[in-house]
Subunit: 268 residues, 2 copies
Protein backbone atom coordinates (compact mmCIF):
# COMPACT_ATOMS: atom_id res chain seq x y z
CA UNK A 1 0.00 0.00 0.00
CA UNK A 2 1.40 3.39 -0.93
CA UNK A 3 0.78 6.10 1.60
CA UNK A 4 -0.68 9.37 0.39
CA UNK A 5 1.67 11.57 2.38
CA UNK A 6 -0.14 14.76 1.41
CA UNK A 7 -3.41 13.44 2.81
CA UNK A 8 -1.79 11.83 5.84
CA UNK A 9 -0.21 15.13 6.90
CA UNK A 10 -3.02 17.36 5.61
CA UNK A 11 -0.55 19.24 3.43
CA UNK A 12 -1.65 22.59 1.96
CA UNK A 13 0.22 24.51 -0.70
CA UNK A 14 -0.57 28.22 -1.03
CA UNK A 15 0.76 31.28 -2.80
CA UNK A 16 3.15 31.45 -5.67
CA UNK A 17 6.82 32.05 -6.19
CA UNK A 18 9.83 30.02 -7.19
CA UNK A 19 11.09 29.75 -3.59
CA UNK A 20 9.18 27.39 -1.30
CA UNK A 21 8.83 28.05 2.42
CA UNK A 22 7.61 25.28 4.71
CA UNK A 23 6.04 26.19 8.06
CA UNK A 24 6.10 23.42 10.67
CA UNK A 25 4.00 23.70 13.82
CA UNK A 26 5.05 22.69 17.32
CA UNK A 27 3.66 20.47 20.07
CA UNK A 28 -0.04 20.92 20.88
CA UNK A 29 -0.60 23.04 17.76
CA UNK A 30 -1.42 22.65 14.10
CA UNK A 31 -0.88 24.49 10.83
CA UNK A 32 -3.57 27.02 11.67
CA UNK A 33 -1.16 28.61 14.17
CA UNK A 34 0.65 30.11 11.17
CA UNK A 35 -2.40 32.01 9.93
CA UNK A 36 -1.05 35.48 10.86
CA UNK A 37 2.33 34.74 9.29
CA UNK A 38 1.29 33.12 6.02
CA UNK A 39 -0.28 36.25 4.41
CA UNK A 40 3.07 38.02 4.76
CA UNK A 41 4.77 35.39 2.60
CA UNK A 42 2.12 34.37 0.11
CA UNK A 43 2.91 37.02 -2.48
CA UNK A 44 6.55 36.10 -2.84
CA UNK A 45 6.76 32.47 -1.78
CA UNK A 46 5.14 29.15 -2.37
CA UNK A 47 3.94 28.34 1.15
CA UNK A 48 3.64 24.75 2.41
CA UNK A 49 1.67 23.96 5.56
CA UNK A 50 1.04 20.57 7.16
CA UNK A 51 -0.06 18.87 10.36
CA UNK A 52 2.06 16.23 12.08
CA UNK A 53 0.33 12.87 12.38
CA UNK A 54 -1.84 13.06 15.48
CA UNK A 55 -2.21 16.86 15.24
CA UNK A 56 -4.76 19.04 13.51
CA UNK A 57 -6.55 17.43 10.60
CA UNK A 58 -3.90 14.81 9.93
CA UNK A 59 -5.04 11.22 9.36
CA UNK A 60 -4.91 9.90 12.88
CA UNK A 61 -5.04 6.29 11.62
CA UNK A 62 -1.40 6.65 10.66
CA UNK A 63 -0.39 7.34 14.23
CA UNK A 64 2.20 4.73 15.18
CA UNK A 65 3.39 4.83 18.78
CA UNK A 66 6.66 3.14 17.86
CA UNK A 67 7.49 5.39 14.90
CA UNK A 68 6.67 8.52 16.87
CA UNK A 69 8.57 7.49 19.99
CA UNK A 70 11.40 9.73 18.83
CA UNK A 71 11.70 12.97 16.89
CA UNK A 72 13.24 10.97 14.02
CA UNK A 73 9.77 9.59 13.21
CA UNK A 74 8.49 13.11 12.69
CA UNK A 75 11.63 14.09 10.76
CA UNK A 76 11.00 11.18 8.40
CA UNK A 77 7.52 12.54 7.68
CA UNK A 78 8.94 16.00 6.93
CA UNK A 79 11.28 14.42 4.38
CA UNK A 80 8.43 12.42 2.88
CA UNK A 81 6.38 15.59 2.48
CA UNK A 82 9.30 17.38 0.85
CA UNK A 83 9.87 14.42 -1.47
CA UNK A 84 6.17 14.19 -2.37
CA UNK A 85 6.21 17.89 -3.31
CA UNK A 86 9.52 17.45 -5.12
CA UNK A 87 11.09 20.27 -3.10
CA UNK A 88 14.73 21.32 -3.33
CA UNK A 89 16.46 24.09 -1.39
CA UNK A 90 13.36 25.01 0.57
CA UNK A 91 13.20 27.35 3.54
CA UNK A 92 12.02 25.49 6.61
CA UNK A 93 10.49 27.48 9.47
CA UNK A 94 9.99 25.34 12.55
CA UNK A 95 8.32 26.39 15.76
CA UNK A 96 9.59 24.94 19.02
CA UNK A 97 10.17 21.19 18.70
CA UNK A 98 9.81 21.51 14.92
CA UNK A 99 13.11 23.37 14.89
CA UNK A 100 14.87 20.20 15.95
CA UNK A 101 12.68 18.02 13.74
CA UNK A 102 13.70 20.17 10.77
CA UNK A 103 17.34 20.03 11.79
CA UNK A 104 17.26 16.24 12.09
CA UNK A 105 15.63 16.03 8.66
CA UNK A 106 18.27 18.37 7.20
CA UNK A 107 21.09 16.19 8.56
CA UNK A 108 19.58 13.21 6.75
CA UNK A 109 18.90 15.00 3.43
CA UNK A 110 20.39 18.46 3.33
CA UNK A 111 19.50 18.98 -0.35
CA UNK A 112 15.89 19.72 0.59
CA UNK A 113 16.94 22.69 2.74
CA UNK A 114 18.35 26.10 1.83
CA UNK A 115 17.76 27.77 5.19
CA UNK A 116 16.20 26.83 8.48
CA UNK A 117 14.45 29.32 10.74
CA UNK A 118 14.05 28.14 14.33
CA UNK A 119 11.35 29.84 16.37
CA UNK A 120 11.80 29.26 20.11
CA UNK A 121 14.04 26.21 19.64
CA UNK A 122 15.68 24.03 22.27
CA UNK A 123 18.01 21.06 21.73
CA UNK A 124 17.20 19.81 25.24
CA UNK A 125 14.60 21.01 27.71
CA UNK A 126 15.90 19.20 30.80
CA UNK A 127 18.89 20.64 32.64
CA UNK A 128 22.13 18.69 32.49
CA UNK A 129 24.00 20.67 35.12
CA UNK A 130 26.58 22.00 35.44
CA UNK A 131 27.33 21.88 31.70
CA UNK A 132 23.88 22.60 30.30
CA UNK A 133 20.91 24.68 31.41
CA UNK A 134 17.66 23.77 29.60
CA UNK A 135 15.25 25.41 32.03
CA UNK A 136 13.52 22.29 33.43
CA UNK A 137 14.35 19.80 36.13
CA UNK A 138 13.57 16.26 35.11
CA UNK A 139 11.07 16.22 37.98
CA UNK A 140 9.20 19.18 36.44
CA UNK A 141 8.76 17.23 33.20
CA UNK A 142 7.66 14.07 34.99
CA UNK A 143 5.05 16.05 36.90
CA UNK A 144 3.79 17.65 33.70
CA UNK A 145 3.48 14.27 32.00
CA UNK A 146 1.72 12.80 35.00
CA UNK A 147 -0.71 15.69 35.04
CA UNK A 148 -1.46 15.08 31.35
CA UNK A 149 -2.25 11.47 32.18
CA UNK A 150 -4.35 12.15 35.27
CA UNK A 151 -6.09 15.40 34.41
CA UNK A 152 -5.73 16.27 30.76
CA UNK A 153 -8.18 19.17 30.70
CA UNK A 154 -6.69 20.59 33.90
CA UNK A 155 -3.21 20.27 32.43
CA UNK A 156 -4.10 22.32 29.36
CA UNK A 157 -5.60 25.13 31.37
CA UNK A 158 -2.62 25.11 33.75
CA UNK A 159 0.06 25.15 31.06
CA UNK A 160 -1.44 27.50 28.46
CA UNK A 161 -1.06 30.79 30.39
CA UNK A 162 2.47 29.90 31.54
CA UNK A 163 3.83 29.29 28.07
CA UNK A 164 1.78 31.92 26.25
CA UNK A 165 2.66 34.84 28.54
CA UNK A 166 0.81 37.99 27.33
CA UNK A 167 -1.70 37.56 30.17
CA UNK A 168 -3.48 40.78 29.23
CA UNK A 169 -4.55 39.18 25.94
CA UNK A 170 -6.76 36.40 27.22
CA UNK A 171 -7.84 35.31 23.73
CA UNK A 172 -4.30 34.08 23.08
CA UNK A 173 -4.29 31.86 26.15
CA UNK A 174 -7.79 30.62 25.36
CA UNK A 175 -6.75 29.63 21.85
CA UNK A 176 -3.71 27.79 23.10
CA UNK A 177 -5.66 25.97 25.79
CA UNK A 178 -8.18 24.92 23.19
CA UNK A 179 -5.43 23.80 20.85
CA UNK A 180 -3.74 21.72 23.56
CA UNK A 181 -7.07 20.00 24.12
CA UNK A 182 -7.99 19.51 20.48
CA UNK A 183 -6.65 16.03 19.96
CA UNK A 184 -6.25 12.55 21.35
CA UNK A 185 -4.86 12.84 24.93
CA UNK A 186 -2.78 9.66 24.58
CA UNK A 187 -1.11 10.99 21.45
CA UNK A 188 -0.64 14.43 22.98
CA UNK A 189 0.98 12.86 26.00
CA UNK A 190 3.40 10.80 23.93
CA UNK A 191 4.28 13.82 21.79
CA UNK A 192 4.90 15.79 24.99
CA UNK A 193 7.13 13.04 26.37
CA UNK A 194 9.10 12.73 23.13
CA UNK A 195 9.46 16.51 22.93
CA UNK A 196 10.35 17.33 26.51
CA UNK A 197 12.73 14.40 27.00
CA UNK A 198 14.46 14.87 23.64
CA UNK A 199 18.16 15.59 23.53
CA UNK A 200 19.54 16.77 20.18
CA UNK A 201 22.77 18.29 21.48
CA UNK A 202 24.97 15.68 19.81
CA UNK A 203 23.29 16.18 16.45
CA UNK A 204 23.93 19.94 16.42
CA UNK A 205 27.43 19.58 15.06
CA UNK A 206 26.22 17.43 12.15
CA UNK A 207 23.89 20.18 10.95
CA UNK A 208 25.15 22.36 8.12
CA UNK A 209 22.18 24.28 6.71
CA UNK A 210 22.39 28.02 7.49
CA UNK A 211 20.03 28.74 10.35
CA UNK A 212 18.33 31.69 12.00
CA UNK A 213 17.56 31.22 15.69
CA UNK A 214 14.71 33.44 16.83
CA UNK A 215 14.92 33.80 20.59
CA UNK A 216 11.77 34.97 22.37
CA UNK A 217 11.70 37.02 25.58
CA UNK A 218 10.40 35.54 28.83
CA UNK A 219 10.01 32.16 27.20
CA UNK A 220 9.50 29.53 29.89
CA UNK A 221 10.01 26.73 27.37
CA UNK A 222 13.20 27.98 25.73
CA UNK A 223 15.12 30.49 27.89
CA UNK A 224 17.84 32.81 26.56
CA UNK A 225 20.62 30.47 27.73
CA UNK A 226 19.28 27.80 25.39
CA UNK A 227 19.30 30.12 22.39
CA UNK A 228 22.88 31.05 23.14
CA UNK A 229 23.89 27.42 23.51
CA UNK A 230 22.31 26.62 20.16
CA UNK A 231 24.01 29.54 18.46
CA UNK A 232 27.38 28.48 19.87
CA UNK A 233 27.00 24.87 18.71
CA UNK A 234 25.25 25.32 15.38
CA UNK A 235 27.47 26.18 12.43
CA UNK A 236 26.24 28.92 10.11
CA UNK A 237 23.73 30.12 12.67
CA UNK A 238 22.59 33.62 13.48
CA UNK A 239 20.90 34.46 16.79
CA UNK A 240 18.18 37.10 16.83
CA UNK A 241 16.61 38.26 20.08
CA UNK A 242 12.91 39.15 19.76
CA UNK A 243 10.89 41.56 21.87
CA UNK A 244 7.96 39.11 21.61
CA UNK A 245 7.22 37.49 24.94
CA UNK A 246 6.33 33.86 25.54
CA UNK A 247 6.68 30.79 23.41
CA UNK A 248 4.21 31.66 20.63
CA UNK A 249 5.48 34.83 18.89
CA UNK A 250 3.77 33.81 15.63
CA UNK A 251 0.47 34.27 17.48
CA UNK A 252 1.32 37.10 19.83
CA UNK A 253 3.68 39.15 17.61
CA UNK A 254 3.21 38.02 14.03
CA UNK A 255 4.56 41.28 12.55
CA UNK A 256 7.88 41.07 14.37
CA UNK A 257 8.12 37.36 13.65
CA UNK A 258 7.48 37.84 9.92
CA UNK A 259 9.87 40.79 9.75
CA UNK A 260 12.81 38.96 11.32
CA UNK A 261 12.29 35.98 9.00
CA UNK A 262 12.12 38.26 5.94
CA UNK A 263 15.12 40.33 7.01
CA UNK A 264 17.17 37.20 7.44
CA UNK A 265 16.12 35.72 4.10
CA UNK A 266 16.93 38.97 2.32
CA UNK A 267 20.32 39.28 3.98
CA UNK A 268 21.59 35.81 3.11
CA UNK B 1 -20.01 31.46 3.04
CA UNK B 2 -21.46 28.16 1.92
CA UNK B 3 -20.50 25.19 4.02
CA UNK B 4 -19.20 22.12 2.28
CA UNK B 5 -21.25 19.65 4.27
CA UNK B 6 -19.56 16.63 2.72
CA UNK B 7 -16.15 17.84 3.86
CA UNK B 8 -17.40 19.07 7.24
CA UNK B 9 -18.82 15.64 8.08
CA UNK B 10 -16.17 13.63 6.20
CA UNK B 11 -18.89 11.96 4.12
CA UNK B 12 -17.93 8.82 2.19
CA UNK B 13 -20.11 7.18 -0.45
CA UNK B 14 -19.34 3.55 -1.30
CA UNK B 15 -20.85 0.68 -3.23
CA UNK B 16 -23.59 0.76 -5.79
CA UNK B 17 -27.29 0.16 -5.91
CA UNK B 18 -30.41 2.22 -6.30
CA UNK B 19 -31.21 2.06 -2.58
CA UNK B 20 -29.07 4.19 -0.28
CA UNK B 21 -28.26 3.12 3.27
CA UNK B 22 -26.78 5.64 5.70
CA UNK B 23 -24.79 4.39 8.70
CA UNK B 24 -24.56 6.84 11.61
CA UNK B 25 -22.09 6.24 14.42
CA UNK B 26 -22.71 6.85 18.11
CA UNK B 27 -21.00 8.76 20.92
CA UNK B 28 -17.23 8.30 21.21
CA UNK B 29 -17.05 6.57 17.84
CA UNK B 30 -16.69 7.36 14.15
CA UNK B 31 -17.62 5.89 10.78
CA UNK B 32 -14.82 3.36 11.00
CA UNK B 33 -16.90 1.45 13.57
CA UNK B 34 -19.06 0.24 10.65
CA UNK B 35 -16.17 -1.44 8.85
CA UNK B 36 -17.35 -5.00 9.53
CA UNK B 37 -20.91 -4.17 8.47
CA UNK B 38 -20.31 -2.16 5.31
CA UNK B 39 -18.90 -5.06 3.18
CA UNK B 40 -22.17 -6.92 3.72
CA UNK B 41 -24.15 -4.11 2.10
CA UNK B 42 -21.83 -2.75 -0.55
CA UNK B 43 -22.91 -5.11 -3.32
CA UNK B 44 -26.58 -4.23 -3.14
CA UNK B 45 -26.70 -0.75 -1.65
CA UNK B 46 -25.16 2.65 -2.03
CA UNK B 47 -23.55 3.09 1.38
CA UNK B 48 -23.13 6.51 3.02
CA UNK B 49 -20.79 6.99 5.96
CA UNK B 50 -20.01 10.17 7.87
CA UNK B 51 -18.52 11.54 11.09
CA UNK B 52 -20.43 13.90 13.34
CA UNK B 53 -18.71 17.25 13.82
CA UNK B 54 -16.17 16.76 16.59
CA UNK B 55 -15.82 13.03 15.86
CA UNK B 56 -13.47 11.08 13.59
CA UNK B 57 -12.08 13.05 10.69
CA UNK B 58 -14.79 15.70 10.66
CA UNK B 59 -13.75 19.34 10.36
CA UNK B 60 -13.44 20.25 14.00
CA UNK B 61 -13.50 23.98 13.17
CA UNK B 62 -17.23 23.66 12.62
CA UNK B 63 -17.79 22.57 16.19
CA UNK B 64 -20.26 24.98 17.74
CA UNK B 65 -20.98 24.46 21.42
CA UNK B 66 -24.37 26.15 21.11
CA UNK B 67 -25.54 24.25 18.04
CA UNK B 68 -24.46 20.93 19.51
CA UNK B 69 -25.96 21.56 22.93
CA UNK B 70 -28.91 19.40 21.88
CA UNK B 71 -29.42 16.39 19.62
CA UNK B 72 -31.30 18.68 17.22
CA UNK B 73 -28.00 20.22 16.15
CA UNK B 74 -26.75 16.81 15.09
CA UNK B 75 -30.10 15.98 13.44
CA UNK B 76 -29.79 19.16 11.36
CA UNK B 77 -26.40 17.96 10.09
CA UNK B 78 -27.88 14.58 9.13
CA UNK B 79 -30.53 16.37 7.08
CA UNK B 80 -27.90 18.61 5.48
CA UNK B 81 -25.88 15.55 4.47
CA UNK B 82 -28.98 13.89 3.02
CA UNK B 83 -29.83 17.06 1.14
CA UNK B 84 -26.29 17.48 -0.17
CA UNK B 85 -26.43 13.91 -1.52
CA UNK B 86 -29.94 14.48 -2.85
CA UNK B 87 -31.24 11.43 -0.99
CA UNK B 88 -34.87 10.31 -0.90
CA UNK B 89 -36.33 7.31 0.90
CA UNK B 90 -33.00 6.25 2.35
CA UNK B 91 -32.46 3.59 4.98
CA UNK B 92 -30.92 5.11 8.08
CA UNK B 93 -29.03 2.85 10.48
CA UNK B 94 -28.18 4.64 13.70
CA UNK B 95 -26.10 3.27 16.54
CA UNK B 96 -26.99 4.31 20.08
CA UNK B 97 -27.62 8.06 20.26
CA UNK B 98 -27.74 8.19 16.47
CA UNK B 99 -30.99 6.25 16.60
CA UNK B 100 -32.63 9.25 18.25
CA UNK B 101 -30.74 11.72 16.06
CA UNK B 102 -32.10 9.90 13.01
CA UNK B 103 -35.59 9.83 14.46
CA UNK B 104 -35.51 13.57 15.19
CA UNK B 105 -34.32 14.21 11.63
CA UNK B 106 -37.10 12.00 10.25
CA UNK B 107 -39.74 13.94 12.18
CA UNK B 108 -38.50 17.13 10.55
CA UNK B 109 -38.21 15.74 6.99
CA UNK B 110 -39.67 12.28 6.67
CA UNK B 111 -39.25 12.20 2.88
CA UNK B 112 -35.54 11.44 3.29
CA UNK B 113 -36.30 8.23 5.19
CA UNK B 114 -37.78 4.91 4.07
CA UNK B 115 -36.76 2.87 7.12
CA UNK B 116 -34.83 3.46 10.28
CA UNK B 117 -32.80 0.78 12.01
CA UNK B 118 -31.95 1.56 15.62
CA UNK B 119 -29.01 -0.31 17.11
CA UNK B 120 -29.02 -0.18 20.91
CA UNK B 121 -31.30 2.88 21.09
CA UNK B 122 -32.63 4.71 24.12
CA UNK B 123 -35.03 7.67 24.24
CA UNK B 124 -33.80 8.51 27.74
CA UNK B 125 -30.90 7.10 29.72
CA UNK B 126 -31.84 8.50 33.13
CA UNK B 127 -34.56 6.81 35.15
CA UNK B 128 -37.81 8.69 35.63
CA UNK B 129 -39.33 6.38 38.21
CA UNK B 130 -41.82 4.95 38.70
CA UNK B 131 -43.05 5.48 35.12
CA UNK B 132 -39.78 5.01 33.21
CA UNK B 133 -36.68 2.89 33.70
CA UNK B 134 -33.70 4.07 31.65
CA UNK B 135 -30.98 2.23 33.55
CA UNK B 136 -29.12 5.19 35.07
CA UNK B 137 -29.62 7.35 38.13
CA UNK B 138 -29.00 11.01 37.45
CA UNK B 139 -26.16 10.77 39.97
CA UNK B 140 -24.47 8.05 37.87
CA UNK B 141 -24.46 10.36 34.86
CA UNK B 142 -23.17 13.32 36.86
CA UNK B 143 -20.33 11.19 38.20
CA UNK B 144 -19.47 9.99 34.69
CA UNK B 145 -19.38 13.57 33.38
CA UNK B 146 -17.27 14.73 36.30
CA UNK B 147 -14.85 11.89 35.71
CA UNK B 148 -14.55 12.93 32.04
CA UNK B 149 -13.69 16.44 33.18
CA UNK B 150 -11.23 15.46 35.88
CA UNK B 151 -9.60 12.36 34.45
CA UNK B 152 -10.40 11.89 30.81
CA UNK B 153 -7.98 9.07 30.10
CA UNK B 154 -9.05 7.27 33.27
CA UNK B 155 -12.68 7.70 32.29
CA UNK B 156 -12.18 6.03 28.92
CA UNK B 157 -10.41 3.02 30.39
CA UNK B 158 -13.09 2.74 33.10
CA UNK B 159 -16.08 2.93 30.77
CA UNK B 160 -14.88 0.93 27.75
CA UNK B 161 -14.98 -2.57 29.31
CA UNK B 162 -18.35 -1.89 30.98
CA UNK B 163 -20.14 -0.92 27.79
CA UNK B 164 -18.31 -3.30 25.44
CA UNK B 165 -18.87 -6.47 27.48
CA UNK B 166 -17.16 -9.42 25.71
CA UNK B 167 -14.33 -9.26 28.24
CA UNK B 168 -12.65 -12.32 26.72
CA UNK B 169 -12.01 -10.32 23.53
CA UNK B 170 -9.67 -7.67 24.84
CA UNK B 171 -9.04 -6.15 21.39
CA UNK B 172 -12.67 -4.92 21.33
CA UNK B 173 -12.31 -3.07 24.63
CA UNK B 174 -8.94 -1.68 23.56
CA UNK B 175 -10.41 -0.33 20.34
CA UNK B 176 -13.28 1.31 22.16
CA UNK B 177 -11.03 2.84 24.80
CA UNK B 178 -8.85 4.24 22.03
CA UNK B 179 -11.88 5.57 20.19
CA UNK B 180 -13.24 7.28 23.31
CA UNK B 181 -9.89 8.99 23.65
CA UNK B 182 -9.41 9.90 20.01
CA UNK B 183 -10.82 13.42 20.07
CA UNK B 184 -11.05 16.70 21.90
CA UNK B 185 -11.98 15.97 25.55
CA UNK B 186 -14.10 19.13 25.82
CA UNK B 187 -16.16 18.13 22.79
CA UNK B 188 -16.41 14.53 23.95
CA UNK B 189 -17.65 15.70 27.32
CA UNK B 190 -20.33 17.93 25.81
CA UNK B 191 -21.46 15.17 23.46
CA UNK B 192 -21.67 12.83 26.47
CA UNK B 193 -23.72 15.35 28.41
CA UNK B 194 -26.08 15.98 25.50
CA UNK B 195 -26.43 12.24 24.91
CA UNK B 196 -26.87 11.00 28.44
CA UNK B 197 -29.19 13.78 29.56
CA UNK B 198 -31.32 13.68 26.40
CA UNK B 199 -35.01 12.88 26.64
CA UNK B 200 -36.78 12.06 23.38
CA UNK B 201 -39.80 10.33 24.87
CA UNK B 202 -42.21 13.05 23.81
CA UNK B 203 -40.95 12.98 20.23
CA UNK B 204 -41.57 9.23 19.86
CA UNK B 205 -45.20 9.69 18.97
CA UNK B 206 -44.39 12.16 16.21
CA UNK B 207 -42.19 9.62 14.43
CA UNK B 208 -43.77 7.76 11.54
CA UNK B 209 -40.99 6.09 9.57
CA UNK B 210 -41.07 2.28 9.92
CA UNK B 211 -38.38 1.27 12.37
CA UNK B 212 -36.47 -1.81 13.44
CA UNK B 213 -35.25 -1.74 17.04
CA UNK B 214 -32.25 -4.01 17.55
CA UNK B 215 -32.01 -4.81 21.25
CA UNK B 216 -28.66 -6.09 22.49
CA UNK B 217 -28.18 -8.50 25.40
CA UNK B 218 -26.49 -7.38 28.62
CA UNK B 219 -26.33 -3.82 27.36
CA UNK B 220 -25.52 -1.51 30.26
CA UNK B 221 -26.36 1.55 28.15
CA UNK B 222 -29.74 0.43 26.78
CA UNK B 223 -31.35 -2.34 28.86
CA UNK B 224 -34.18 -4.57 27.60
CA UNK B 225 -36.84 -2.45 29.36
CA UNK B 226 -35.80 0.51 27.22
CA UNK B 227 -36.17 -1.46 23.99
CA UNK B 228 -39.62 -2.57 25.05
CA UNK B 229 -40.60 0.99 25.95
CA UNK B 230 -39.45 2.22 22.56
CA UNK B 231 -41.33 -0.54 20.75
CA UNK B 232 -44.51 0.28 22.67
CA UNK B 233 -44.29 4.01 21.90
CA UNK B 234 -42.95 3.98 18.36
CA UNK B 235 -45.52 3.43 15.62
CA UNK B 236 -44.57 0.97 12.89
CA UNK B 237 -41.74 -0.44 14.95
CA UNK B 238 -40.48 -3.98 15.20
CA UNK B 239 -38.40 -5.15 18.15
CA UNK B 240 -35.69 -7.72 17.56
CA UNK B 241 -33.72 -9.21 20.42
CA UNK B 242 -30.09 -9.96 19.58
CA UNK B 243 -27.81 -12.57 21.12
CA UNK B 244 -24.95 -10.03 20.78
CA UNK B 245 -23.82 -8.81 24.18
CA UNK B 246 -22.89 -5.25 25.09
CA UNK B 247 -23.52 -1.95 23.37
CA UNK B 248 -21.41 -2.45 20.22
CA UNK B 249 -22.85 -5.43 18.31
CA UNK B 250 -21.57 -4.00 15.01
CA UNK B 251 -18.06 -4.59 16.38
CA UNK B 252 -18.60 -7.71 18.48
CA UNK B 253 -21.19 -9.54 16.33
CA UNK B 254 -21.18 -7.99 12.88
CA UNK B 255 -22.67 -11.09 11.21
CA UNK B 256 -25.75 -11.17 13.42
CA UNK B 257 -26.11 -7.39 13.17
CA UNK B 258 -25.92 -7.44 9.37
CA UNK B 259 -28.29 -10.41 9.13
CA UNK B 260 -31.02 -8.81 11.25
CA UNK B 261 -30.81 -5.59 9.25
CA UNK B 262 -31.00 -7.50 5.95
CA UNK B 263 -33.83 -9.76 7.13
CA UNK B 264 -35.83 -6.72 8.17
CA UNK B 265 -35.23 -4.87 4.91
CA UNK B 266 -36.21 -7.91 2.88
CA UNK B 267 -39.37 -8.47 4.89
CA UNK B 268 -40.76 -4.95 4.56
Amino acid sequence: MTIDVLVRNNVKVLGSGSQTIVFAHGFGCDQDMWRYIVPNFMDNYRVVLFDYVGSGQSQIDYYDAYKYSSLQGYAQDVLEIMKALDLRDAIFVGHSVSSMIGMLASIQSSNYFRHIVMLGPSPRYVNDLPSYYGGFDRRDIDELLEMMQMNFIGWSSYLAPIVMQNSERKELTDELEKSFCSRDPHIARQFAEVTFLSDCREELEQASVPTLILQCSDDSIAPVEVGEYLHAHLKNSRLQQMTAKGHYPHLSQPEETSRFIKDYLQSV
